[in-house]
């Protein structure tokens, strides 16, 4: 067994070896040998504090703070397992919440939870009421009541609306008010200003908006209401799009809401996938507590079966150090 006492002895020889062999270098630089002894003490105390050399419970012939031993064993295992299995999904949720939640910081505080939930599942009624309350402040309570009966998922639309409502007035002049389609495009840059994380997604979303605009045009001319809403939009800075939606009848509302929902998905999905590929994989994948540092004699692969022939290794597994002269391993990819 690679008992901790063996590893300790090995480490001690290395410590002594290093300290003895740098004496001259210290003298050459005119550094007092006392400093060298301090270095040795520092090193040894840090080694002891690392607990990497403490024995396992069953081999507790060396009595080293036994209470620490059972504590440490399960912890790394659990955390390592949790990281491997659960970190990715929870990371998604956080990123969604974080990214979508940024605009709310400038507008309304309850939105983070809305965004997070909208990304995963249907929204509770309580959140609807919150939206109703805020949107009611904009004088649009009736229209939103229609949305509520339509389907619970339409909450994404109110979110858009609330963001827009909270946006400053001066942006309005940028918006060409002639058609409902045009209103949407200026909104995107505004959101980009608010939320750097969503920039790329917003740009992608614009493409989708363009597609939607064409769709909207078809039903659009039939409704006289659109023209009215656009007039309203000119005066009322932020809610021009809202008016547009609300002035249409229920069916159109539903359609548009569905479109809006799609927008949101389009915005959020690329966010997730991009994060997975670019950020999480390199960092999380290679970030683990258990590390083996060694040299390879041979690495063989036959289809998905790998064989490892390693030597001169130092392993830190579950917080303990082990060493080996040779190690052979099998793994399937």
């Amino acid at each position: 067994m690679t008992t901790s006492s063996q590893v300790s002895k090995l480490y001690q020889t290395v410590v002594d070896d290093v300290i003895n062999n740098v004496k001259e270098a210290f003298l050459d630089e005119g550094v007092d040998e006392q400093v060298l002894q301090e270095l040795k003490q520092l090193w040894e105390s840090k080694l002891a504090a690392s607990k990497a050399l403490e024995p396992f419970p069953q081999e507790a012939e060396v009595v080293l703070a036994p209470s620490n031993v059972p504590m440490r064993m399960p912890q790394p295992k659990a955390s390592a397992g949790a990281e491997a299995a659960a970190a990715a999904p929870s990371g998604h949720a956080q990123k969604i919440a974080g990214a979508v939640a940024q605009p709310p910081q400038t507008t309304l505080q309850y939105q983070p939870s809305d965004a997070a939930q909208a990304a995963t599942m249907a929204l509770p009624a309580g959140i609807f009421r919150q939206h109703l309350a805020t949107l009611g402040a904009g004088g649009q309570v009736q229209n939103i009541a229609v949305q509520q009966t339509g389907s619970g998922q339409y909450i994404t639309l109110p979110q858009f609306q609330t963001q827009q409502q909270a946006q400053p007035v001066p942006i309005q002049p940028q918006q060409p008010q002639q058609t409902g389609q045009a209103v949407r495009i200026p909104i995107q840059p505004q959101q980009q200003q608010q939320n750097f994380l969503q920039q790329q997604q917003q740009q992608q979303a614009q493409i989708f908006h363009a597609g939607q605009l064409l769709q909207q045009q078809l039903p659009g001319p039939g409704k006289g209401a659109q023209g009215l809403s656009q007039l309203d939009g000119n005066e009322d800075t932020s809610s021009s799009e809202d008016d547009d939606d609300f002035d249409l009848d229920d069916k159109d509302d539903e359609e548009k809401e569905e479109e809006n929902e799609e927008e949101q998905r389009e915005e959020e999905d690329p966010l997730n996938s991009a994060d997975d590929v670019s950020d999480e994989d390199p960092t999380e994948l290679f970030d683990t507590e258990n590390v083996v540092v060694c040299q390879y004699d041979k690495i063989n692969r036959n289809k998905n079966k790998w064989k490892f022939y390693l030597k001169d290794g130092i392993m830190n597994l579950n917080g303990r150090d082990f060493v080996f002269q040779k190690a052979t391993g099998d793994a399937e990819w």
Partner: protein, 105 residues
Amino acid sequence: MSYQLYRNTTLGHTLQESLDEQIQLGQISPNLALKVLLQFDKAINQALANRVKVKISFKGKLNTYRFCDNVWTFVLNKVDFREAPVQEIVKVDKVKIVACDGKSM
């Protein structure tokens, strides 16, 4: 010339932390610290090559492999490490193996 990869171990980390502290305190120069680290590289390479006789086997699932600049990096999941022939050492859910070429030295 010895491999520097063993600096990335408990023994190497603790030494580097100690040296950092002494540099901070102005007790030693960064140049002297570097000399200590080079001596550490030599010592740990020698110690592993000459003083360790343990043989180990392991089995697991290969999650990721990477070969860059003659260094293999593997990430394995659900790995059993055993001291040959059968004695069990430890199981881990995830382990990273970093391996330099053993022949070039």
